[in-house]
């Protein structure tokens, strides 16, 4: 047991670092995922993840695999797309999801083009799929600060955010905090996607955000429990994925996301809030 579950982390620093990185990501990304899901913006997260690519790629073009350049580039590009999609949706006929789709497709193509201009296709693979096994101190500190900022901002904007999930009309009638809270929330989405990008790459970063959140939905009706569960699921996915990568020589990023996918599958089948088992094998009715 020790050899399978603990020894890899005891023996190798890179495994410990990967695990710490996943812990930080879980605390930041998973709660954001819960809010995205509750606000029916699950696919928005995906679109924004692609939107980060050209910015990170520009950073890569300027400075290679430089943490600072790629982070700044990614954050700027993410904001630019989030804001411009919002603006286009307000001033034109287009719905926000349509303009996001347009923006993210363009961004993805642009990002791939920019990376290819400087580097090889292998560099492109590293940008798209990340390198969770190669987290250095600076990257870990970055991930941890993103998680800290996320939790703080979530605590500050908690009430308007929750209200907006439940009843946006009511929120608008009683308070003006909805707008700023929404922008703060979008900023958190971008921040966590950029953090996830360093570990898992642009294509998979959104996986660790959404899959645990969606899985948690099958186990809880209460928001606090849902968030705690999603963090737990995200971290367990990271841990299990790293173990699979260690023992079975699977690439680590995809292994982590597949672990999260398995948790989702189990939750889908057995979750007691709207899971399949509840649907086909109903529990006994309460009788007086």
């Amino acid at each position: 047991m020790y050899d399978i579950f603990i020894a890899p982390f005891a023996e190798f620093e890179f495994m410990r670092r990967a695990l710490v990185g996943m812990l930080a990501l879980s605390f930041g990304a998973a709660p954001i995922g819960v809010f995205l899901m509750l606000r029916r913006m699950s696919l928005t997260g995906d679109a924004m993840a692609h939107a980060i690519l050209p910015g990170a790629a520009l950073g890569f073009l300027v400075a290679g695999f430089d943490l600072f350049a790629m982070t700044v580039g990614g954050v700027i590009a993410g904001f630019a797309v989030a804001i411009s999609a919002g603006v286009v949706a307000r001033v034109t006929q287009l719905k926000e999801d349509a303009s996001l789709a347009a923006f993210y497709l363009v961004s993805l193509a642009l990002g791939v083009l920019i990376v290819s201009m400087r580097g090889s296709n292998i560099d492109l693979l590293h940008v798209l799929f990340g390198s969770v096994l190669a987290l250095d101190n600076a990257t870990l500190v970055l991930l941890a600060s993103f998680a800290t900022v996320t939790l703080l901002v979530l605590a500050l904007t908690w009430r308007p955010l929750v209200l907006e999930c439940v009843d946006p009309g009511f929120l608008r009638s009683v308070s003006k905090t909805g707008g700023p809270a929404h922008i703060a929330f979008l900023a958190l989405v971008v921040l966590n996607l950029v953090g996830g990008f360093h570990a898992l790459g642009t294509l998979l970063a959104v996986g660790i955000m959404m899959l645990p959140a969606i899985a948690a939905r099958f186990w809880a009706t209460d928001l606090t429990r849902m968030i705690v569960l999603s963090v737990l699921f995200a971290f367990v996915s990271g841990y299990a994925g790293l173990l699979v990568s260690y023992h079975l020589a699977a690439p680590s990023g995809p292994a982590i996301i597949l672990a999260a996918g398995s948790i989702y599958g189990v939750s889908l089948a057995f979750g007691h809030v709207g899971g399949l088992r509840r649907r086909f094998v109903p529990g006994r009715h309460l009788e007086a």
């Binding site: 890899p8 023996e11 190798f12 620093e13 890179f14 495994m15 670092r17 990967a18 290679g64 695999f65 580097g119 090889s120 296709n121 292998i122 560099d123 693979l125 590293h126 799929f129 390198s131 096994l133 190669a134 987290l135 250095d136 790293l242 990568s245 260690y246 023992h247 079975l248 020589a249 699977a250 690439p251 680590s252 292994a255």
Partner: protein, 305 residues
Amino acid sequence: MISRRLILAAALSFAAVPALAPEKLSVVATFSILGDFVKNVGGDRIALTTLVGPDGDAHVYSATPADAKNLAASRVVFMNGLGFEGWIDRLIKASGTKAQIVTATRGIKARRMAGGHDHGHSHGHDHDHDEFDPHAWQSVANAKVYVTNIRDALIKADPAGKAEYEANTTAYLARLDALDKEIKAAIADIPAARRKVITSHDAFAYFKATYGIDFVAPQGVSTESEASAKDVAQIIRQIKARKIPAVFLENVSDPRLAKRIADETGAKIGGTLYSDALSDEQGPAPTYIDMMRHNLRQFADALMS
């Protein structure tokens, strides 16, 4: 009447061809190192197009329509062979070129893929690639075979330039001989116990066999598969167990991973090695000879201290 005029026109146009300025032999090489060999042999008589340019990874290159056009317009196409350019056969077919196709490694005793390639995940990419190690140019003796193959092919395509090609080849072979001696002398200066390094890409099997520096790789011989946690763990164990003094980054693989391994083991990080591609003109390895010298200096710097 008309037919006579046609014949006249045809005769005139035939007469006109030799009057034009001597046209350069258009030649294609698949990647930068091979392109450098071809340039040294062909000199001014050829117009060379290199498909995968400096710093590009020819293993996973995706060909463009422009490549097919270049191929179709060329008279000779030089490829490395041994499964290095997995994409070239399709490209040749697609371009419909009538060029002479030359495998530059012909006559070289190809090495089988070294052990450590049995990861399981690296199977099934490309059959040729799983059998032979294509990086033959990493031994200068092999480079000389490349050069003579190129000379023969150019003479066949352009017999008029025979004398020039032969003179270029002789001069270049002499430089390669000097390079070979230089490498052997420099490596003799490194203590035998320290002649082992780790690189993120195992392209140096021929270098190892010829010059006696031991290379250990965290990834398979192809850069096509991503390193897993298991691979990284094995390599770290290996460095610690065998006390390997230096870790080298490679211009076509993830530098962050190599740095992590170096941090974790205390091995020294050497500079960038060029193995599969030359650098651009401003870089440290714009030609084959520069590349070999540059790599040699990197090994010496990291292993002597």
